[in-house]
């Protein structure tokens, strides 16, 4: 099922001809804040800082990208019982932008991918580590463009969901921007 969903998203890129050549290319590290639904059932989401990188390419209004981010949660518990978790998120994204000019390109983005979670649980000094993959999907809005020469920016807010967790991912990235990559 997950493969089928990924296929549908990738097919949508092909449908609009994105798999041919890209005209604009962006690559940069990103810093962000990720909110998530807490296990306590409280309505207010909890936020943690995350970091990673963004790659994207556009041909005309259509684009595709790859998003990678790492979210280390703070250790939770006390000296006797504690749990520490971290998420590595990897998503493939389809994008559609509106080109006001070279500096301002608002876009919508849809992504799907996988989240690799590691959990380190400890009790009375004895620890064990576990990990799991989740299928994650997101949808969001962003803006990207050239700041000067080959230097560009990308900022986005995405709503994501996996398992019984959802939240918002706010990211800011500054990096290499080229309109002549291909």
């Amino acid at each position: 099922m997950r493969v089928l969903c990924l296929f549908l998203i990738l097919m949508s890129l092909n449908l609009f001809g994105v798999t041919s050549y890209a005209a604009d290319f962006y690559l940069g590290p990103q810093f962000g804040k990720t909110s998530y639904t807490p296990p306590t059932g409280e309505k207010d989401r909890v936020s943690e800082y995350s970091y990673g990188g963004d790659v994207m390419a556009f041909k005309g209004p259509y684009g595709a990208g790859f998003h990678l981010s790492y979210l280390p949660y703070p250790t939770d518990g006390n000296a006797t019982v504690s749990v520490q978790q971290s998420d590595l998120l990897m998503t493939l994204e389809a994008k559609y932008r509106y080109e006001f000019n070279n500096h301002i390109n608002p876009y919508v983005t849809f992504g799907a991918g996988s989240l690799y979670k590691t959990v380190k649980s400890s009790v009375m000094g004895m620890s064990e580590k576990s990990s799991d993959f989740y299928f994650v999907q997101d949808i969001g809005l962003g803006i990207m463009g050239v700041l000067f020469k080959d230097f560009g920016y990308n900022a986005a807010v995405k709503y994501y969901q996996y398992s019984n967790v959802d939240g918002y991912n706010y990211t800011l990235s500054l990096g290499y921007f080229s309109s002549h990559i291909l």
């Binding site: 099922m1 997950r2 089928l4 969903c5 990924l6 549908l8 998203i9 097919m11 949508s12 449908l15 609009f16 639904t37 807490p38 296990p39 306590t40 059932g41 409280e42 309505k43 209004p61 949660y73 939770d76 518990g77 006390n78 000296a79 006797t80 019982v81 504690s82 749990v83 978790q85 389809a94 559609y96 919508v108 849809f110 799907a112 979670k117 959990v119 649980s121 009790v123 009375m124 004895m126 064990e128 576990s130 990990s131 799991d132 299928f135 999907q137 949808i139 969901q161 996996y162 398992s163 019984n164 967790v165």
Partner: protein, 417 residues
């Protein structure tokens, strides 16, 4: 422009279909396997895979034994905190959330991915475990399931002067609401919800109240002011006497709960991982009642008046630990099954006696134990045990079940911690 809108719509539709078709449905039906910290019977905790059989939805922590809620507020309005006048006027609960526990899956085992999910899973396991444990000797007869458990609420006592007293690092059974509470834990030892002995201890209070027909919750009896240094019951009004009896009955409730906590956990020092300073709750530590009936009455009144903390229940736990260690030793002679069933059968008798005599007689520890044995002829080793603990009050001459025996019970010198 129309073309663009059309393309966006098609793209969004495809993506949303893709997103919705991957929505994870709860895929575990019936039995959940969860990895939680469990005690090995010697005070060491290790991660162990357990099965939860009563849980219908592990994420919201609902099931046929208990429904867990998180946070919110539990507030008791009492008469006067400073005067230690804890007659509860009203209890309110508000703002609890249905949990949304998070898990990773390794094979068919769920791994809680955060502390709260781990705590909730462990509490749920022990609620299920204690039900099975108490079902084993029909202690749950006529009790209703599922019951409510609140984890990590703000729990406060408030009096009419708006003085407040928050409760942390503790657990409680609130009989008037048939509700269990596991308070926020601020210390560095084992949080109480992870300690199966604590869960079994609190659960016993539910059984105690049910089997004694809630005689303990005759709250008006707690509000009488005590006067120091009573020499005999004639120095106390009926209301004062009833209050003293309620305090001592509370100690019995705590002591029996400690004994059952041991039987569930199979660790005599079951509380140690959560409260290293509280050595007196180790049921292996033998204690005896210091003083005859008059001395006990005086001690209880004076302890109650001299206590400088409003947490007078600590004293009840300490007195109760005498009962706990006694029943632990009795179970070594009688066996656990006989002891557990005898305690259950004793509770209605205790309630009847309590209701009848609470305002006219002091129901001392020796008298309570006499009601427990109900004139049953005892073996010499049991007699020896009884007289070694309650010997300042009970003797071969006045304790009917041991009349005729020639016993030299070893007397203890100290009451213990």
């Amino acid at each position: 422009m129309k073309r663009v809108i059309c393309k966006i719509s098609v793209l969004m539709a495809i993506v949303f279909i893709a997103m919705s078709c991957t929505k994870k449905e709860p895929k575990y039906n019936g039995i959940y396997k969860v990895r939680i910290p469990l005690e090995d019977g010697q005070g060491q905790y290790r991660f162990t895979t357990v099965e939860l059989r009563s849980v219908s939805d592990i994420q919201s922590m609902t099931g046929s034994v208990a429904n867990l809620k998180y946070g919110g507020k539990v507030s008791h309005e009492v008469e006067n905190l400073k005067a230690k006048d804890w007659g509860i006027i009203d209890t309110k609960i508000s703002g609890q959330n249905t949990p949304s526990a998070h898990f990773a899956t390794v094979g068919d085992v769920l791994i809680p991915t955060d502390y709260t999910s781990l705590l909730l899973s462990t509490v749920m396991y022990h609620t299920e475990g204690t039900k099975t444990f108490y079902d084993g000797f029909n202690a749950n007869d006529k009790l209703e399931f599922p019951y409510a458990v609140i984890v990590d609420p703000e729990h406060i006592f408030t009096d009419k002067r708006f003085e407040t007293y928050p409760i942390t690092n503790n657990a409680a059974y609130i009989s008037m609401l048939d509700l269990f509470v596991y308070h926020p834990y601020k210390r560095d030892e084992l949080p109480l919800g992870f300690n199966g002995g604590i869960v079994a201890h609190e659960y016993f209070h539910r059984i105690f109240h049910a089997k004694t027909n809630f005689v303990m919750t005759q709250l008006a009896d707690r509000t009488a002011e005590l006067t120091p240094d009573p020499q005999d019951i004639t120095d106390l009004t009926p209301e004062q006497l009833a209050k003293v009896n309620v305090l001592l009955a509370s100690a019995l409730n705590e002591g029996l709960a400690d004994y059952f906590a041991y039987e569930y956990s199979k660790n005599p020092a079951w509380m140690l991982p959560s409260a290293k300073k509280n050595l007196s709750r180790d049921v292996q530590v033998k204690k005896n009642v210091a003083g005859n009936k008059k001395q006990q009455l005086k001690d209880i009144v004076d302890h109650n008046l001299n206590e400088d903390s409003p947490r007078r229940r600590l004293e009840q736990h300490e007195i109760g630990s005498i009962y706990a260690s006694f029943f632990y030793r009795l179970s070594n002679i009688w066996g656990a099954e006989k002891t557990k069933i005898a305690i259950l059968n004793f509770l209605p008798r205790f309630a009847e006696n309590f209701t009848k005599n609470r305002k006219t007689d002091f129901m001392s520890m020796g008298e309570t134990i006499s009601v427990f044995f109900n004139d049953e002829k005892l073996s010499p080793d049991v007699c020896s045990e009884v007289l070694s603990v309650f010997g300042d009050e009970l003797t071969i001459q006045n304790f009917k079940p041991c009349k005729g025996f020639e016993i030299n019970p070893p007397r203890m010198v100290n009451r213990g911690e």
